[in-house]
Symmetry: C2
Subunit: 239 residues, 2 copies
DNA sequence: TACTTCCGTCTCATTATGTGAGATGCAAGT
DNA sequence: ACTTGCATCTCACATAATGAGACGGAAGTA
């Protein structure tokens, strides 16, 4: 099978990275594993070190670099956003409310994708907005499936209780009324990664007047459906 | 600051990957972002696609590729093994028993590092060995800090109970007697990643005759100390 | 509808870059 | 003390990468 991309240096650099996938590797081992000449491997490996795509361990062996973890994290975020985009639009149109995807980031949650209701009274949360993990239906969802200790820690000073989170796990969705902002209601459901772990929350939000005091009863099912479709898309495109 | 590694093609490829970190990008946008000429960017990007370091989305835009996720996963494993190596030897020497690090892999746990007691009666678990998540102190540790549903699912047909796992969380270590194999006792403690989540278990194992029927009382403290040191090493070298 | 603009892709003459044989220095092994 | 093996470096040279320009097609505009 033709393994040549048309750019020889990139082919060789990829061979070096492939060899490092097995673990820390000396220069001599890299030469053997790649079939390239020693000065070539040395020069390419040092260039990859320069860009942090490769590192060096305490024994001076080459290892895969931390930049790969950074790029992989960005790649994962790309996939979530790509999968969510059209489905958030669908959710917005089906419910008539603005919709968002949140991810946890320490003590905050961050909006990584959104589809705004274009007209009238609406809740606007721009991409990049950081909100509290202590209030709101998305915070409940991002917390409900944490391990026991992280769950208890997350409940400190929160606007919701263990009983509320137990209900979230049972129903598969969370709702909130005026927790983040007076007059705003929201419904959220979990997005799960290929391993089944909750990695994000899909939400709709808008005025209590329209969503009523039981927004979950109105929209819980559709929010869950959309969250499940995003999860499925991530599962299918993982390989 | 000098940003040239000495291999121009790798410098340019790294610039392309840097540009893609911001999200899906057209060829024209890549040309603008990198300052390279159009055919050069096109050729390099296609070469990176060939090696799956870059992909294409449904709109034909370039995105970071799935190979980066694979390499990043291997990089993370490298760091755990590097951090654990000397500390497992220390643990082995301090306790006189074989020591291991396990990670969860679906319904199994895998030994990713070990330090064997060199002489006499000993428990041997070669790196790569897959063991059950239904028995053994390492399985208890890998399960104790899961979210409620995954914890309950993991308890199906397990040799331990919710009460035992609550004790694991309280004491910070788990012990088992003859769960995986008659006559073998073990003690395990959690290794936490930079986010605080349990990512692995450190264990010692050996004959019940030597470890007694209360191996945790004998060795729980030292196993916890070593696990904490591995966790700290991962935290410090994460950036 | 016709025309213009912009983008992605390809070609190929040119040249700058990457290659690797061989040298050097040093650490480890005998 | 000597030998071996490894990482690092040099530099003459061959080749791979470059980018101006061409081409085709899609999108935008009048």
């Amino acid at each position: 099978m033709d393994n040549s991309s048309g750019v020889g240096v990139i082919d060789k650099a990829a061979a070096v990275l492939d060899a490092l996938e097995a673990g820390p590797t000396t220069l001599a081992q890299l030469v053997a594993a790649t079939g390239l000449s020693r000065p070539t491997v040395h020069r390419l490996a040092q260039a990859l070190v320069h860009h942090r795509l490769v590192g060096k361990d305490v024994h001076g062996r080459f290892v895969l670099g931390s930049r790969l973890v950074e790029l992989a994290s960005a790649a994962g975020e790309d996939r979530l956003i790509a999968a969510a985009g059209p489905l958030l639009i669908q959710l917005r149109d089906a419910t008539g409310e603005s919709s968002q995807v949140f991810r946890r980031q320490g003590d905050s949650r961050v909006c990584v994708a959104s589809a705004e209701r274009p007209v009238g009274l609406r809740d606007t949360i721009p991409v990049g907005t950081q909100l509290s993990m202590r209030a709101g239906s998305a915070a409940q969802v991002l917390l409900a499936w944490e391990d026991h200790e992280r769950l208890l820690d997350g409940l400190q000073n929160a606007r919701f209780t263990p009983t509320i989170l137990a209900g979230v796990r049972r129903r598969g969705w969370a709702q909130s009324l005026g927790e983040r902002e007076p007059g705003v209601a929201s419904v959220s459901a979990p997005v799960r990664g290929p391993s089944g772990r909750v990695i994000a929350a899909v939400s709709i939000s808008g005025p209590i007047e329209r969503l009523t005091r039981q927004p979950g009863r109105l929209h819980g099912d559709i929010v869950c459906q959309i969250a499940a479709q995003i999860s499925e898309a991530l599962r299918q495109n993982g390989e």
